[in-house]
Symmetry: C2
């Protein structure tokens, strides 16, 4: 029996801020399964910072999403019907299914590789703490940031999906002496110190000029910064660059402040500190670490179970409604 | 018998461009040597890019030069009188003697370590190709840039003392497939291709806007940039960042375009390329490699003797005249 199913396609590459009109909702008919096929009913779809670059029409470390493509996303669902001998109804799976309600596959190698979600793992975790953002935090902090016990570490976007994992691993797993998170507003800052257990938080919205923000960074780091895990760019990057120690590592994970605007403003003038305080300012591509995803996901799940790591999830209902949250 | 001798002291930390009035000339009397002392008659004084930061009044990887201090500089001279049992008159030496005509020492450990200039080495080489600029090029290119055979390499400030050594080592010693130098004006550019043997030169003065310069960099590097050795910063850094390959290395050696001005302009907006094209953007401090200076100087001297490396020197006379050259 065929079913109706909805999906979202990219309708336009955004110029400036992303608009609902950059996507179009479509209802399609999914026919009866053929022999060897199985169908996944999607439960949760990941919402990732990386999407911002996927939809710009450029190929980066992955091919860009083109106009007319189903919007790319990691998603979790349950096998609701199977005519495949090795795929059982009821199994929960994660794969690169995109923005759709149902996905039909004929191999676990479809959709970029479909993986079973282990029994006991909450269904949203493969999209959050064990998903792209959690793995990005893990490899960026450990492989680029290389935190050592006693290091003083600054994380921007620290209340975000990636930053919060990086900051907590630094503080509770890697023995940093001081971890300070940057976030916008008192509520996020309170979460950073009271729930995530960081040493301090900087509410960037409370510092309207560069000089005041830089002064705050100096006060928060009387002995300088050893690792800066940056998700944001802009004023906090310049302030951090002014305070790095010799052989500091600057992890260029993202630049949120520069994505959603046609005019992102000047780059970090203080990059010249690198001349006198040698140390890498370096980006990374999570996919380069694909061979270690399993190891990393197990360690993250253990840290989460031990209480060394907490994370907040924000699940939005209403598949058909393209609204900013 | 006492002698008269002149020296220059720092008179003020420059604000904006360096002015002759930032230095003061003084004539001092040097008394007869005591037992154990020896006196060096200075022949050549090095003129280094690093001086620009030494005189700003800040401590960096070395203590800043303070107002009233004799201006710091590496210099070469000849022992003209000695009452030290192990120091022979006529020996040529190099040391951190500063801007003075005569230096009196009582140990070869004075003046940051006085070293004999080997027989057969031209007297200016310890201040140029075997001096701070040559060693800076050597360690910056090899340890930070890590050039591999077949790499495409861009060097800014390529006609300068440091850039010219980095570019030639890349091209003639390390097997780069393509080395392009950036310099100002047709004369320097002709030197880069015709004398230094680079593949091409970019005359940055011929490109008045960022877009045109970036287009030129794209044309010069159809397969992207693997190593950018940057002495300059500013527009060429932004253009290079736009064209780097995955796992490129950006050597932040200097930022000439930003030193001699009170208003250095925006930082490199294209640093965000690092997020998608992972690879380090990294500075270094030559002094960190002090234990390998001997090895490096021998290799540089051999390359110079083999004709793999050429360098131009600009010797100015008139110690007492503080004029820009």
């Amino acid at each position: 029996m065929s079913i109706e199913s909805r999906l979202w396609r990219l309708a336009a590459h955004p110029k400036g801020p992303v608009e609902p009109s950059d996507f179009s909702l479509e209802t399609v008919t999914i026919e009866d399964l053929d022999d060897g096929q199985f169908r996944v009913a999607i439960e949760y779809i990941a919402f990732e910072p990386a999407m911002r670059s996927w939809i710009m029409g450029r190929d980066t470390y992955v091919k860009g999403v083109q106009v007319g493509d189903v919007m790319r996303a990691l998603a979790v669902g349950v096998i609701e019907e199977s005519r495949h001998p090795e795929v059982e109804v009821g199994q929960r799976v994660v794969g690169n299914f995109g923005w759709r309600e149902h996905a039909v596959a004929s191999s676990m190698r479809d959709f970029g590789g479909i993986r079973a979600v282990p029994e006991g793992t909450p269904p949203t975790w493969p999209l959050s703490i064990l998903g792209i953002t959690g793995l990005t935090a893990y490899f960026g902090l450990l492989d680029i940031g290389q935190p050592k016990p006693g290091d003083a570490i600054l994380v921007s976007g620290a209340a975000g999906a990636t930053g919060s994992v990086a900051a907590q691993i630094a503080k509770h797993v890697k023995g940093a002496s001081r971890v300070v998170g940057v976030a916008g507003g008192p509520e996020k800052c309170a979460w950073l110190t009271e729930v995530a257990g960081l040493d301090a938080a900087i509410d960037y919205k409370a510092f309207t000029d560069q000089r005041a923000l830089t002064r705050e960074v100096f006060e928060q780091f009387p002995d300088g910064i050893d690792v800066f895990f940056d998700n944001v760019g802009g004023p906090i990057l310049d302030a951090a660059l002014a305070r790095i120690n010799n052989h500091a590592r600057i992890v260029v994970c993202g630049a949120i402040s520069r994505y959603d605007t046609a005019n992102p403003g000047p780059g970090p003038g203080n990059y010249t500190t690198l001349i006198l305080k040698p140390g890498p300012m370096e980006g990374f591509v999570g996919l380069d670490y694909a061979s270690r995803f399993g190891e990393a996901a197990r360690e993250l799940a253990d840290c989460r179970a031990d209480g060394k790591l907490t994370h907040a999830e924000d699940a939005q209902a209403e598949f058909a409604k393209a609204q900013a949250v």
